[in-house]
């Protein structure tokens, strides 16, 4: 087996037709070529077949018609299978289900072991691969003890140990927190620099913008097609078309488009710096001084004593047995616990300590909870319905201490807690039964249960007549999440607590789901929402609370909390993009009142200060 030549055509789809056994057609006639050394981003909404492409490339699936050539070999040729697979590294989305072994070095060696590489060479390759992903020193760690980002790195190392000429990432960052995602994207860039051809499949435009070439797939019933193909700037600038394909447009393009709608001819770009330059060039020196916009109404930062729906008084929490202790028990060497972990975020779902948390949430408020993974967000949320009890301090629900068992039982009803990926907890044969689980547990009469289920399904915009009798497992991802939310709403809570409600959804479903949460809040529910997206928090919440290492470090209206970029950066967070841009524009001499911005409001404030007449301004591009 010789390694694939440079300058070759690495991937060639020739009039490929493919459909799944269940009858869904993915492609009817797809053509696509990828050359050695390229860095290609494959973008597409749900149903555009982008994940199928990854499997077709790696000979995991074969086309029904046409052919897929990888390194010049046909994927249907059984003798070429191992040649193709060993030269192609494939990394999947979920960090939890692609690792085979319990120990990292065995995991990394798995691929080359299958190739029959001898033991000495195996050792060299394992070290080399772990070096490349920055995880030397972790050889004897258990794969289980790693964070999501670290697991993805190990998966990449496992692929690298086979010395591939090409790497395919199938939404490899989708389930990571912002920190894990950033660091993984940097690693992918490095791999490309080292000469590996990179194919990156993603929902995210900001990731696609790093590639040299962007291919956008458009799904349709007649089979997905390549809709756009070109450099990131050329493709991503065609934001209108992208928006029509359910893809989230990068902030900079979005702003440029909003300005264009307002009559300002500014070319969209994916680079923030460039947009800033273009805007400065377009600045109208004769713009009249703007009247200051109405001062943004600032919600009260703190609430009145006693009136709060839920109140944390000096709450501290520490986990009984640290997770590391359990892990250590199985370890040969106790020093493994001291290794530099936590550099790439921590496993979601585990419990973290809280220290002296003081927090009051009023009736009908919508409060956002920010902080990177491991800051204690989930722990805080689980105190709200008495799943966890503080080691010291009190949690009061409507003035009653949750330490009291009867109060805690009531809390299960009045506080609806929606976990991350709540659709993973669906279990019943029909949507109806699943949603009815809560009300039935509360011991409601059958007709009350029925009313509650219908109301809850209505609330999440799932038509009870259409969905109630269906199996929850037949629904799409977005619908499943709505059904799971209905299961909590059916208990008629006063307070809705959401942990990362939009995690893992594609851009359009994400916007839909957040709009739904906003509606629920408008209908009178009090909402607490933890999120990694500062933009979402700034846009939706009356008040934002920032946690860092189990302490509340910032709290107040979004514009005050997000005001200081330096302070946010120190705790691993960033400003919402429109606000950051507004601050930079102000530094360039634009007159922008200090308030919280969305893309629309920023464009509206900016437009009058820009020269609509492009001819009057030397064109920048």
């Amino acid at each position: 087996m010789s390694a694939p030549e440079e300058r070759d055509q690495f991937v060639a789809f020739e009039s490929v037709a493919f459909d799944y056994e269940n009858g869904s057609t993915v492609f009817t006639d797809l053509d696509l070529t990828i050359t050695a050394g390229e860095y290609v981003a494959l973008l597409g909404g749900n149903g555009s077949g982008k994940s199928t492409i990854a499997k077709l490339i790696d000979a995991l699936l074969q086309p029904q018609e046409g052919r897929v050539l990888v390194f010049g070999r046909d994927t249907r040729d059984g003798t070429a299978t191992f040649y193709i697979r060993s030269n192609t590294g494939l990394v999947f989305q979920n960090p939890d289900d692609q690792l085979v072994a319990s120990i990292i070095e065995n995991e990394v060696a798995f691929g080359p072991e299958n190739l029959g590489i001898d033991a000495h060479e195996l050792r060299v390759r394992v070290e080399e691969a772990l070096d490349a992903v920055g995880m030397r020193g972790f050889e004897h760690q258990e794969t289980n003890a790693l964070s999501g980002g670290q697991k993805q790195r190990v998966a990449i190392a496992g692929a690298l140990a086979m010395r591939p000429a090409m790497m395919v990432f199938d939404e490899a960052t989708a389930m990571l927190d912002p920190r894990g995602r950033r660091s993984l994207m940097r690693l992918i860039d490095e791999l490309h620099h080292s000469g590996i051809t990179v194919i990156m499949i993603t929902h995210y435009m900001d990731e696609a913008a790093r590639a040299q070439r962007v291919v956008v797939l458009e799904g349709s019933d007649a089979g997905a097609q390549v809709a756009l193909d070109g450099t990131p700037d050329a493709v991503l600038a065609r934001a209108e078309e992208l928006r029509a394909l359910d893809l989230a447009v990068p902030f900079t393009c979005d702003l440029a488009l909003c300005l264009r709608d307002a009559g300002i001819p500014v070319g969209p770009t994916v680079h923030e710096e460039e947009l800033l330059q273009r805007l400065v060039a377009l600045r109208d020196p004769h713009a009249r001084e703007l009247p200051q916009g109405p001062p943004a109404s600032e919600p009260e930062g703190t609430s009145q004593q006693g009136a709060a729906l839920i109140r944390f008084e000096n709450v501290s929490y520490s986990y009984g047995e640290p997770a590391t202790k359990k892990a250590r028990r199985r370890h040969k060497t106790p020093e493994s616990a001291d290794l530099p972990e936590k550099a790439w975020g921590i496993e979601p779902g585990s419990s973290f300590a809280l220290h002296d948390v003081e927090l009051a949430i009023d009736h009908h408020e919508m409060v956002g909870l920010a902080g990177h993974t491991g800051s204690g967000k989930s722990t805080l949320l689980q105190h709200m319905n008495g799943l966890l009890h503080p080691r010291s301090g009190r949690v009061l629900l409507d003035g009653h201490d949750l330490a009291d068992r009867t109060v805690a039982r009531d809390a299960r009803r009045h506080v609806g807690l929606v976990f991350q990926y709540p659709e993973h907890q669906l279990f019943a044969a029909t949507v109806y039964d699943d949603v009815a689980f809560g009300p039935r547990n509360l011991g409601l009469a059958p007709e009350e249960v029925d009313a509650a289920v219908r109301r809850a399904l209505d609330q999440v915009n799932l038509d009870p007549d259409r969905f109630a009798a269906r199996s929850p497992f037949e629904l799409s991802g977005g619908q499943q999440r709505k059904a799971a939310l209905a299961g909590v709403l059916a208990m008629d809570p006063q307070l809705l607590v959401l942990d990362e409600p939009a995690a893992g959804l594609d851009p359009r479903t994400r916007q839909e789901f957040l709009a739904l949460v906003k509606e629920l809040h408008a209908s009178g529910l009090t909402v607490v929402m933890a999120s990694h997206s500062m933009e979402d928090l700034a846009r939706l919440c009356d008040r934002v609370v920032v946690l860092d290492k189990g302490r509340i470090v910032l709290a107040g209206a979004p514009q005050t909390v997000f005001e200081d970029p330096e302070r946010l950066r120190r705790i691993g967070l960033a400003q919402p993009a429109p606000l950051a841009m507004a601050q930079r524009l102000r530094a360039q001499g634009f007159v922008l009142p200090s308030r919280l911005y969305t893309v629309d409001s920023l464009a509206a404030a900016l437009a009058p200060q820009l020269a609509a007449d492009a001819a009057a301004v030397p064109a920048k591009d």
């Binding site: 790696d58 995991l60 697979r85 060993s86 494939l90 999947f92 979920n94 939890d96 289900d97 692609q98 690792l99 085979v100 072994a101 319990s102 120990i103 070095e105 065995n106 060696a109 798995f110 691929g111 072991e113 299958n114 190739l115 029959g116 033991a119 195996l122 050792r123 258990e142 794969t143 289980n144 998966a155 496992g158 692929a159 086979m162 028990r329 199985r330 040969k332 496993e347 779902g349 585990s350 799943l387 039982r409 299960r412 009803r413 807690l417 976990f419 709540p422 993973h424 907890q425 669906l426 279990f427 019943a428 689980f437 809560g438 039935r440 547990n441 509360l442 497992f473 909590v488 208990m491």
Partner: protein, 243 residues
Amino acid sequence: MKLTLTAALFALVLCAFTPFALAVDATFIIIAYGVARITPKEVAATLWPLLVLVIMTALLNMVFVQGGTVYFQLGILVVSEEGLLAAAFLGCRLLLLLLVAALLTLTTSTFAITEALEAVMRPLTMVHVPVHELAMMMGIALRFLPQFVAELAIIRRAQLSRAAELSFNPFKGGLSTLAALIVPLFTSAFRHSETLAFAMDARCYHGGEGRTRLHPFAFTWRDGVALAVIGSMTVCLVLADMW
């Protein structure tokens, strides 16, 4: 190698018929723990849940073995001298067996145990037992076990949040509650297994044929020492039993 020696140790403990022989065994095992530098605390933590089993067995023996002076009688329960001795003896023997097993699990990674099992069972391939596949399955099971434990904990909390009574009382809707825990766990397992199968294929997995090992089995001087020690222990034991 370690696996074979552990098996030998197991057999030795089972072969100890007198208290003295047992004491000899115990000495060796404690020395082994010393060599492996495992603290009593770690051992206690591992064995704690299993102690119930030891005590139960001891109690049963106490009641069933009769003879000698009767110390205590309650209905049909008769506690006699021999019963007590048997209980103490068997209890100690079981404890030692557990200690041997713990010695293996505390010093060896699960993956290594799986590999060792595969090596020991290798001859069985001659009679068409899919040894490699069995070992692979065991390895994957061990890899996913802690993950499922964590997932189950999250599912449990989520269903508790929906006012589930986790009493498992079959007369009080306990069964549906059980389904609320088990079904999500199984769907998760199916979801994982589908991707895992693709991930293994993608890395050229094609069964045990032609696979190499990161850790090939090699007989080192340490194994020699261990073999010698166990050999001497066997001799001591035979002597002790004859005594």
